[in-house]
């Protein structure tokens, strides 16, 4: 049987790598594995050294599983989560992100075994037992269906988005499906904007209003090159402080007159601005096709600004 030995290093990023990463760390947690085994799992699965550096614990394991001394400080450019680093230059791949998320969650369980988890955390955790999630939902007083909310920085909630916070809102689902709603909310969060001159757009986005735009979210990762229209938009933005807000108003208003009202400028001022903008962009935003092109460029720009997992 020895010849059947397979190697984890051959983890195929295409074929079900996520399932394998989840299975690996779940089994370590079931077996009550310690911190070193969890760091070793991250190193072996990622194929590069991994280090844990949290108060009281400094562990470094190389890709072949050997424990070694922590040497120097972690590079802020390395992919990291919860005190765990993968020692290679970023940006993180989708597999890296999955490894870090599962390993960091398992490490938290070891470091804080007696921590009582907040019911919101439990109800949104796909790996928590359905019983535990149902109980958490009852403690939160949730009705049959609810929505998950994703906020910047990885925090999350349930129900209605907190006012004044940038938020992605997941679809209303039966409470046991809230983890899936959260996944959709995280995607929606990437379409949000600060609502400022630099970053115009909606501060709250509902997942079910995105329609086919969600396809774009998958297409834009940390290493994706912006398309020429996005570069043109950035060049235009650098030319005048009013540029992005003006183009956003034109892209999202029913008419130029309505856009002028939103911007509180005179219609002729808007016409002058657009003439300038069209020269810089290289296409007309007066035609429906040009406005679609502008909408896409604005959306892609937002996705690029939030390309790491939200």
């Amino acid at each position: 049987m020895r010849e059947l030995a397979g190697r984890l290093a051959a983890l195929d990023p295409e074929a079900g790598a996520a399932v394998k990463v989840i299975a690996y760390f779940d089994r370590l947690v079931d077996g009550r594995a310690g911190l070193e085994a969890l760091v070793r799992g991250a190193a072996t699965l990622a194929g590069c050294p991994a280090r844990l550096d949290v108060p009281g614990h400094r562990i470094r394991v190389s890709a072949d599983g050997r424990r070694s001394d922590v040497d120097g400080e972690a590079d802020p450019g390395w992919p990291a989560e919860g005190g765990l680093w993968l020692e290679r230059p970023g940006p993180r791949t989708a597999v890296d992100a999955m490894i870090l998320e599962r390993a960091a969650a398992a490490i938290r369980l070891v470091l804080e075994p007696d921590r009582v988890r907040e019911p919101v955390e439990v109800v949104l955790d796909a790996t928590a037992a359905p019983d535990a999630r149902g109980k958490a939902a009852r403690r939160l007083g949730l009705s049959l269906t609810s929505r998950a909310i994703a906020y910047p920085g990885g925090s999350a909630g349930v129900g209605a988005p907190a006012s004044h916070r940038r938020a992605g809102v997941g679809p209303a689902v039966p409470v046991l499906d809230l983890p899936a709603s959260l996944a959709a909310a995280k995607v929606a969060l990437r379409f949000t904007a600060e609502g400022t001159h630099d970053d115009p757009g909606p501060r709250v986005v509902r997942a079910e209003e995105l329609g086919g735009l969600t396809v774009l979210a998958d297409a834009v990762g940390p290493a994706t090159e912006p398309v020429p229209d996005v570069r043109a938009l950035e060049r235009s933005a650098a030319a005048a402080p009013w540029m992005l807000a003006t183009l956003d108003a034109v892209a999202t208003s029913a008419s130029l007159r309505a856009a002028a009202t939103v911007l509180t400028v005179h219609h002729s001022t808007l016409q002058n601005r657009l003439a300038h903008a069209e020269t810089l962009l290289g296409w007309s935003v007066h035609e429906p096709s040009g406005r679609l092109r502008l909408q896409l460029a604005l959306v892609l720009r937002r996705l690029h600004r939030r390309s790491a997992t939200a």
Partner: protein
């Protein structure tokens, strides 16, 4: 029959080793039956390192040699090794029914690099196409050839250790018995990694681990039946087929035996070590807690795998120093 022996639940797998098995679940069925053999033989080369990889950018040179119409060997050595050097005669695993002389060779070549020795890995005929005694006689023929060609291979014939894992461990034990009984060649030691020793397939561990881990008692029955046919488990099985059948384990070179606590071979391997001691021989026994069959190959990064490999290396260092 020991089926009446009371036993508890299976010992828990080591968590790191188990996590790998979890990931490989679909590719590693615990219970192998004869009808799965063509598929397994077809796919078994996929996980093996290529000869280029085995050579490790010039740290190792490989050369194939023909021993007879039925037997060949591959010889691996570090270049510029000072002759005569110690040698390892390596026999691959695969349940008597699968594998090639490249299976497990990477670990033997680790020893070659680490300790400065020559590895000779034998290609023997497999059951069921070639039942007993073909596999073990092929392995013995390769061993004799190695000793007869020790000069040109740069091997010190007084420092030749026989080594193998799983079926290769059983065959290593068998050729060591043959060498003792036939009066030649001299074997300096036997390194038996999770050896497959007992065709009767009735030890408590074969029952306790049924359907679990790697190479359970169904697989074991498949392998032994391929080798022995209807004679398997009966009164007339040769110790050269199943070394657990040997009545006399005296006069053997020092043995190293390792096995996982969570595998079918646990009890027959512990018993083999115990009987060597009882016969007045030398044996070093390691039972790795929570190891399933082949854990060190499936999960080479796991701490118990690192420790198991380090222990083998330490034993080899001692044996070759004597």
């Amino acid at each position: 029959m020991t089926t009446g022996t009371p036993y508890g639940p299976p010992p828990p797998f080591d968590p790191e080793a188990a996590a790998v098995l979890e990931v490989l679940a679909a590719r590693v069925p615990p219970a192998i039956t004869g009808d799965m053999l063509p598929l397994l033989r077809n796919g078994s080369g996929a996980g093996l390192p290529s000869d280029d990889e085995l050579c490790r950018d010039g740290l190792i040179e490989l050369a194939d040699h023909r021993v007879s119409d039925d037997v060949s060997v591959v010889v691996g050595r570090p270049p510029n090794l000072r002759a005569p050097a110690p040698g390892i005669y390596y026999i691959h695993g695969g349940g008597m029914i699968m594998g090639t002389n490249r299976v497990g060779l990477d670990q033997a070549l680790d020893w070659a690099v680490e300790l400065g020795l020559v590895v000779v890995s034998v290609e023997y005929r497999l059951a069921p196409e070639h039942p007993h005694p073909a596999p073990v006689e092929d392995c013995f023929a390769g061993l004799l050839w190695t000793v007869e060609h020790a000069g040109e291979l740069g091997i010190d014939p007084a420092r030749l250790v026989v080594a193998g894992g799983s079926a290769g461990g059983g065959l290593s034990a068998a050729v060591t018995l043959m060498a003792r009984d036939r009066g030649r060649p001299l074997v300096a030691g036997q390194l038996l990694m999770e050896p497959m020793l007992d065709d009767r397939n009735e030890s408590p561990s074969t029952h306790q681990m049924r359907g679990l881990g790697v190479w359970d008692r169904t697989s074991n029955e498949t392998g032994w039946t391929a080798l022995l046919g209807a004679a398997r488990g009966g009164p007339d099985v040769s110790p050269y087929a199943a070394p657990a059948r040997a009545e006399d384990l005296s006069g053997l070179p020092p043995a190293y035996i390792d096995v996982g606590s969570a595998e079918s071979f646990r009890d027959e391997d512990v018993e083999y070590a115990r009987r060597i001691w009882l016969a007045g021989g030398s044996a070093e026994l390691h039972v790795w807690p929570g190891g399933y069959h082949g854990f060190d190959m499936f999960a080479p990064h796991a701490v118990i795998s690192q420790d198991a490999k380090a222990a083998r290396l330490r034993w080899l260092r001692r044996i070759h120093a004597e």
